[in-house]
Amino acid sequence: MSKAKMKTNGQAGNTTEKEPAQITITIDGREIRTEAGRNLVRVANENDIFIPSLCYFEHIEPPLGTCRVCTCKINGVAGPACTESVKEGMVVEASTEELADARNAIVEMMFSEGNHFCPGCQKSGDCDLQHMAYELGLRQTRFPHLFKDRLIDFNPQRMIMEHNRCIKCGRCVKEVFTDDGLAVFSFRYRGNETRVGIDYGQEAKLTDRQARDAMNLCPTGAIIVRGELHARPFGERRFDLQSVQKKKPVEDPRITLPAEKKTIATVSLAGCFGCHMSLLDIDLKLMDLVEIVELNKSPLNDIKEFTKQCDIGLIEGGCCNADNVEVLREFRRKCDVLVAFGECALWGGVPSMRNTIPLGECLEEAYLNCITSMPDECAVPYHDDLPKILDKVYACSEIVEIDYFIPGCPPDANHIWKSVLSLISGAQLPVLYSEFKYD
């Protein structure tokens, strides 16, 4: 288990009586009184100035400073807030546009660097990385997903190391030791090959409690203890309902609908139609929907071809074959505004799990070398009538320009509804924290 935690528990009689000095620091122009020497991230967040952080874990001393998500300008110099302890007269810029954008970018980098498939992750809803992205309201990543092929290490006795999900924060490296004081985790390799290695021998020496603590210490689902983590339903997970930021309640804006009905087209490319199903979950609002929009080409009304230029196109799914590309381009031509909705459309989603492996190998495994295929009798399907399969699954935005993005696998029905209504009316409908989901 984490040593620091043990220490806090067994500490009682040891405290010295010295009172820390009260000091004043300035964050974003606001003067804040606090005790000298406290951690800047905590001081800021207690005073409702939200500085996101991921690698920071309050018992780890010295702080790690690896993820850089808490980058601020401290006395004019950019650096992580988590490694700073407050001093008298410290001047901190936390919320400038440049810094906020850079911090968002770093969380986005983590999503595009790892292979994060939220709907399939045991830790979804309890994941610090996912939570931080919710807090920052990240809809999609500006970066191309890297889809690096990584292994999952099933060798340890109790644990599974899911390297796809690791963000290399170093919490486990710095904190998880056996009772003999030996490290269980260590970084291995370097550059973009860096990963956290696990010592099988030492892992076996951890007690069940220590192993569980290691799993809970991990900000993502990279360290999993077999049989320990059970997915809980929506609403019961740590980060489902309430933001940690105190935001002023926003009133719903008045909605004025345009005189003319807007036309909408929808399509599902390389997806599962789940986003369309979620769209139907708006229930009674479906009645409103048909009142205020006219559906053109869409699986909802089974119109196969565009009959006119549309205002809005909703795209579910990414592009895995040539036909998807054709359809997507047609939508771009026929729709004034394109909205990608759902993770597959945003960056590839579940179908893009194949992106870490070359297409040839995927097809050979599926059609030629699989257990049911007969030698010399099987072939990879290839026919003029079949759409050609692309070398990888592409995000819609890699192929055509996309105007808006709605995340989720699938997106919450209200999220879709509010986005569409906002587009039609021009009013900005606030999406609630609890409606903003990646899984």
Partner: protein, 602 residues
């Protein structure tokens, strides 16, 4: 963050206990090795067996009482440590852009043909290990390679065939390797030559007999000497901070991990003036009150090790190192050599400290200067080879003579390693203030078009800027000038730099680890002729984010070349992006995307 005092006390106790356990554990195993000697041990094993075997890892982890994964972590950080056999002959071929310009591909093929192996692996017979490696400090003689760490320079396919044939006949790499000339092409001349003038051992240390440490420090401060590794931190300030720190012992480290591609000035200094560097270190020891000096020599310069060690031994005999140096009572200073193992980032001082402590060479958080908490948390001075040499010369010649060279704002001279498309690649000692044009003329550059100053982490300049001066207040250079002529492809150079950083990042902070990887994907779009003007804009803004958020100098400077190239060669970038981008086609080609599937058409 500070924990409540009690907790941090407790933490210290625990750390101490753990150390005690480790210390006692060391005896049992039969192998005695300290954590700080881990790199030496790994080198020893690697040299003996061609790789580091699992039993060696088990033995050393038992001896240090650390887990095996920690040792694995250290090994896998360094390029020259292998966990699998690396061949009887291990060949490291330099893949820097200068090497690429001078025929890297041909030489690579020649090696593969002659040995029957493929690069980045070992041939089936187990005799030949072929590996690409970043710049090995021989940019004036590219393409070059190290075979069992002996230099082979100016390679071409015929020479490769010949070398391999001779090795097959039983010649030893050490016998047939190439001599490495210094290629000192130009010095300011007369009294203005500071570094590369004649040298008598002891010339600077002798001055100390009549000088107090305070007055020496004052001279260094007055000379305005700055760290020549490229960061230009005032040396006097650094030494004073270390001197004033109450903790002891104190340490002096010479950073001879000259990893910036295109730089080889420290190689030349260590080859031609090793004594001067040692004297500079001893002077630093005299000033700050330290008796321990260490040279962190990059693994690529293993072939210089004997020379340095011999010089150290000779200096000891001459009483220029050891106790009561030059008869000065209480002036004790000795120097040991530490070999790096192939990691560019270890040139970053805090990463170097970690490496010296036997850890992964990850830069530390910038909470303390090394002069407060450096090696083993003790006050430490780290300077570059050239800085120590310059310090020795300042003391030898007197600060007044030194101040008469260069410019008022940047006095003294600077060594430049010039390489690339020019007739006279080599070392140029220049006064600060010399213009790029003068250097290009001296080295007889061939149609210079794209000049990279200070290596991949520096900036590039175009023809419009050749009148800029190399100095602190204009064009700052860590010591390398790479010249590329009009016939070179800018994108190839930039992609090479990007690959370098992607590989050399320590992997600890997100923007560097992922950022360089992401930039690579973007550059691939340019290479595939699929880039849009918006991609140029993306690179600009993403590069800025890396500069703002990265943990150490490596990440902060990694996008430099790319950013300055965009700024200075806008017409080039315009020519390689789509001219009429539309909303229908971003960086995607259907033809390319279905090529792999078409393989199954028959």
């Amino acid at each position: 963050m500070q924990l409540p005092e009690s907790r941090s006390l407790r933490r210290k106790e625990e750390a101490l206990n753990r150390k005690k356990v480790r210390r006692s554990g060391r005896q049992e195993a039969g192998l005695t090795v300290k954590r700080t000697e881990l790199l030496d041990y790994l080198w020893q094993v690697q040299n003996e067996h061609g790789h580091i075997r699992s039993e060696d890892i088990a033995a050393v982890s038992r001896a240090l009482n650390i887990s095996t994964i920690e040792v694995e972590g250290v090994i896998s950080f360094y390029h020259f440590f292998h966990r699998r056999p690396s061949g009887e002959f291990t060949i490291y071929l330099n893949n820097s852009p200068v090497s690429e310009c001078k025929g890297f591909e041909r030489v690579k093929e020649a090696f593969e043909m002659a040995t029957g192996g493929n690069f980045n692996g070992v041939d089936p017979s187990g005799q030949w290990g072929l590996f690409e490696t970043a710049c090995i400090g021989l940019s004036d003689m590219e393409p070059s390679a190290l075979i069992n760490f002996f230099p082979f320079t100016n390679l071409n396919s015929l020479k490769v065939k010949d070398v391999i044939a001779r090795l097959k006949q039983g010649a030893l790499p050490g016998e047939i390797c190439d001599p490495v000339p210094d290629h000192i092409r130009s010095v300011p001349g007369g009294e203005k030559t500071i570094l590369l003038r004649d040298y008598d051992p002891g010339c600077a240390l002798a001055v100390l007999r009549r000088r107090s440490p305070e007055s020496v420090l004052e001279d260094i401060r007055r000379s305005g000497l700055r760290g020549m590794g490229g960061a230009y931190f005032p040396t006097g300030l650094k030494w004073a901070a270390c001197r004033n720190d109450p903790k002891s012992p104190k340490y002096i480290f010479c950073n001879a991990d000259e990893g910036e591609p295109g730089t080889f000035k420290d190689r030349v200094l260590m080859n031609s003036l090793p004594g001067l560097m040692l004297e500079g270190m001893a002077i630093a020891g005299y000033v700050v009150g330290s008796a321990n000096g260490t040279i962190y020599l990059r693994g690529e310069y293993t072939w210089l090790k004997d020379k340095l060690q011999n010089t150290i031994d000779r200096f000891r005999k001459m009483n220029l190192l050891g106790t009561n140096i030059c008869g000065i009572e209480g002036f004790n200073f000795d120097i040991r050599l530490q070999l790096g193992a192939g990691a560019y980032v270890c040139g970053e001082e805090t990463a170097m400290l970690n490496s010296l402590e036997g850890k992964r060479g990850e830069p530390r958080n910038k909470r303390y200067f090394p002069t407060e908490r450096g090696y083993l948390q003790k006050p430490t001075v780290i300077n570059n080879v050239e800085t120590f040499c310059a310090a020795a010369r300042i003391i030898q010649l007197g600060v007044d003579q030194y101040l008469q060279t260069g410019r008022p704002a940047s006095p003294g001279t600077k060594l430049l390693s010039v390489s690339g498309d020019c007739r006279l690649p080599g070392i140029y000692e220049i006064e600060w203030g010399t213009t790029v044009r003068e250097i290009l003329e001296k080295c007889e550059a061939d149609r210079p078009y794209f000049v990279q100053v200070s290596g991949p982490s520096g900036e590039c300049i175009s023809m419009d800027e050749f009148d800029r001066a190399i100095s602190m207040d204009d064009l700052v250079s860590g010591g390398s000038i790479m010249i590329f002529s009009r016939s070179r492809n800018i994108l190839d150079i930039l992609r090479n730099f990007n690959r370098f950083f992607k590989h050399e990042s320590c992997g600890l902070c997100t923007p560097c680890r992922a950022g360089n990887f992401i930039l690579e994907k973007k550059l691939n779009l340019f290479a595939a002729h699929l880039a849009h003007p918006s991609d140029v804009e993306d690179i600009r803004s993403w590069g800025k984010i890396m500069k703002l958020t990265c943990r150490c100098g490596l990440g902060k400077t990694a996008p430099n070349a790319l950013l300055t190239a965009q700024e200075k060669f806008p017409e080039y970038f315009e020519s390689i992006v789509a001219q009429n981008p539309d909303r229908l086609s971003k960086g995607f080609s259907l033809k390319d995307a279905v090529r792999e599937y078409d393989r199954f058409s028959s």
